[in-house]
């Protein structure tokens, strides 16, 4: 099938890869895990997370002040070391949400962040978690992380691995502080927490 892929439905191929990754996961779990396979899994995991980051844009509403104009881009940022490779760029390429084109930006330091709507805080920021949290507090940024340290300090969504599935844990208080409205549908399929964890 891949032979028939052309530039125009390149996005379709991307989703297929994700699906294949999801489908393979359970069988991979029951078998003894060789090192290469584990690495393969790791990359698949981030592939899924990249798509999730993109999907968040669909299920979260930002206050109008978060955008300069109705057509200004919706920025998905990655703070610290980028674990996604080019998956994230591929996931958002050419996509628009409510008229806002999606853009991926990578930030080395939290002080670099000007305009950002969804921010993945990489595990590499562990030592600076306190500083990052402080910096982002009160801004309409949907912060996402996959490590506990940041989630405890005000991160809104945390990716949790559960039986090799990526699950979501959402801190409603943090979202409220950020002035974000998360779709009830998204809340439905996530685990909800309140207050500092």
């Amino acid at each position: 099938m891949a032979l028939r892929v052309t530039k125009t439905n390149w996005r379709w191929l991307r989703r297929l890869q994700i699906a294949v990754a999801i489908g393979v996961m359970p069988s991979a779990l029951t078998a003894p895990v060789p090192a290469e396979a584990s690495e393969f899994h790791l990359s698949r995991e981030f592939q899924v997370k990249a798509v999730f980051l993109y999907n968040f844009a669909q299920f979260v509403e930002w206050p109008p002040s978060a955008f300069d104009s109705p057509t200004s881009p919706l920025v998905i940022g990655v703070l610290g070391q980028d674990p996604f490779g080019n998956y994230l760029d591929e996931a958002v390429r050419g996509e628009k949400v409510n008229g806002h084109p999606l853009v991926v930006q990578r930030f080395r330091r939290v002080s670099d962040i000007r305009t950002c709507h969804i921010l993945f805080v990489s595990g590499s920021e562990g030592p600076r978690a306190e500083q990052v949290a402080e910096n982002l507090h009160g801004r309409s940024i949907l912060t996402v992380c996959d490590w506990e340290g940041f989630a405890r300090r005000g991160g809104i969504i945390r990716f949790v691995m559960e039986h090799s599935h990526v699950r979501l844990r959402i801190n409603l208080d943090a979202a409220k502080d950020a002035g974000l409205t998360i779709s009830s549908k998204l809340l439905r399929s996530a685990e909800l927490v309140t207050g500092a964890q």
Binding site: F52, F59, L186, S189
Partner: protein, 498 residues
């Protein structure tokens, strides 16, 4: 039984019931069709609404790859009993989750079909897109069995059946009540017609129930009865008039007959007394002529004796004439003593009496077996005496005389007897004059006789209710016929020679 032979009452009921049933059937069929279409549309609508809700709810589950959540969402379909299967496929067409959870994957389509719904044997199936912000995340599959529809239609069927049965019952009752208004006058009319034709009473009138066609028929019927009655009256009247006329006529005939009979009797009595009274002077003439001959025997010359002889002879002849006349008269007046008579016996008796005249002659007798009749023996004897005597007398100039007595088949209840000779015969021109009194076709000098014999025959036969007639030719003999009413005919006959 054919429809045209059943009574009008039942015909009307059948017509009404059939009409009602047809109407009900059409109405129910229309109702069913409408319900079916409406229900199907409603079911489709319902399914698509449910599908839309489920699809909207399951977007996040698809987007964030959470089959458990999706399963939970589909689990809510439990409230919709008619939805028997549901499934969500992800954007790549893979089965994401299913409902009920225990359902085998093989019971579901392996891949999502085109969006839309389809009604098949398994029920209604639909594929609906799961989209979020115009982004297609997957496909929702729903299958609804038609059990709800079936149940509903079973209920409808039951209701329709009850309605039809109820309506037909009501229609039956109504038709029974209403048909009487139509059939009753017809039945009454028929009954009246039957009664009239049985009793021949044309004064009866049918009762009119209204101004409809049956009312008009009743009027026409009554008019017709009136006309028949009138004609009948006129017929009877003319019949009575005819009868009266007939009676009058009969009476007149009787009167005339009585008058005639009276006149006839008077005439006969007169002729009898005249004949009787004539005999006395004749005897004087004859007696005194004889006395004169005896007294003047010596003085009378030959010429005088001849004159006296002629006087005596004429007087005697006149006496015979008078005797015959008296006997003729007697035969007309004497009462008939009717008893069964064998004509053959009478013929034998007469032949015996004729022996003196047949002596020395050669006569061939051919006498057939004669029938038995009812009559007066003495008179019938007289008939044969006359006829056979004539036959012997008029055939005496023939050396080979043949006299035949036979019978012919006559009309019903009639015996015909004939006496045939080959003697002098007669001119057939005068055949009807033969039976008149003193009528003679031959001269006295040729064949003696008074001319009363055949008149006697005719009178006797007529008094027996028969007829006489004769056939003959001059020089070739004569045949005399007479017919008599007889008892059961015994007119068999061969020829017998004597």
């Amino acid at each position: 039984m054919k429809f045209r032979d059943i009574p009008i009452r039942r015909k009307l009921t059948v017509v009404i019931l059939l009409t009602s049933a047809a109407m009900l059937a059409f109405t129910c069929a229309a109702f069913f069709a409408y319900e079916f279409l409406t229900f199907r549309r409603a079911t489709v609508q319902n399914l698509s609404t449910i599908g839309e809700i489920v699809a909207a709810n399951s977007t996040a589950a698809l987007a964030f790859d959470n089959p458990d959540d999706a399963r939970e969402i589909l689990g809510a379909l439990q409230a919709q009993k008619h939805i028997v299967a549901a499934a969500i496929y992800n954007a790549q067409g893979g089965l994401f989750t299913k409902y009920p959870a225990t359902l085998a994957d093989s019971a579901l389509p392996a891949r999502p079909g085109p969006d839309g719904y389809q009604i098949g044997l398994e029920g209604l199936t639909s594929f609906q897109p799961v989209t979020h912000n115009d982004r297609r995340l997957g496909t929702l599959f729903l299958r609804s069995d038609m059990s709800e529809m079936r149940e509903r239609f079973q209920l409808y069927g039951l209701i329709v059946l009850l309605v039809i049965v109820g309506s037909l019952l009501v229609a039956f009752v109504f038709s029974n009540l209403l048909q009487k208004r139509i059939s009753q006058p017809i039945l009454e009319l028929a009954e009246t017609a039957r009664a009239i034709s049985e009793r021949r009473d044309f004064s009866v009138r049918a009762v009119k129930h209204g101004g409809d066609e049956i009312g008009r028929l009743t009027d026409a019927f009554n008019d017709m009865l009136g006309q028949i009655g009138e004609q009948n009256g006129a017929l009877r009247e003319s019949e009575a008039r005819l009868q009266a006329l007939n009676q009058q006529l009969e009476q007149r005939v009787q009167e005339r007959t009585a008058q005639l009979e009276g006149a006839n009797k008077e005439l006969e009595a007169f002729s009898y007394s005249v004949s009787h009274d004539l005999r006395a002077p004749l005897r004087h003439i004859d007696g005194f002529a004889s006395m004169l001959t005896a007294h003047a025997k010596g003085t009378l010359d030959e010429k005088a004796r001849r004159y006296i002889n002629v006087i005596s002879e004429s007087a005697r002849r006149m006496g015979r004439l008078i005797d015959d006349l008296l006997s003729f008269s007697r035969h007309g007046r004497m009462p008939l003593k009717k008893i069964p008579v064998r004509l053959g016996n009478i013929v034998q008796e007469v032949l015996q009496q004729l022996q003196s005249e047949t002596a020395g002659r050669t006569i061939e007798w051919r006498i057939a077996t004669l029938p038995e009749v009812t009559g007066d023996v003495a008179m019938l004897h007289q008939v044969f005496a006359n006829l056979l005597g004539n036959a012997v007398k008029y055939s005496r100039n023939r050396a080979d005389a043949t006299i035949e007595v036979g019978t012919l088949p006559g009309k019903d209840g009639e015996a015909v007897v004939f006496v045939r000779d080959n003697g002098a015969g007669f001119n057939p021109k005068y055949a009807d004059r033969l039976f008149g009194v003193f009528q003679r076709l031959h001269s006295e000098s040729e064949f003696e006789g008074t001319g009363v014999g055949l008149a006697n025959v005719q009178r006797i036969i007529r008094r027996h209710g028969g007829r006489v007639w004769a056939e003959g030719e001059e020089g070739r003999g004569a045949t005399f016929y007479f017919s008599l009413p007889c008892n059961p005919a015994e007119t068999e006959g061969g020829t017998e020679n004597t």
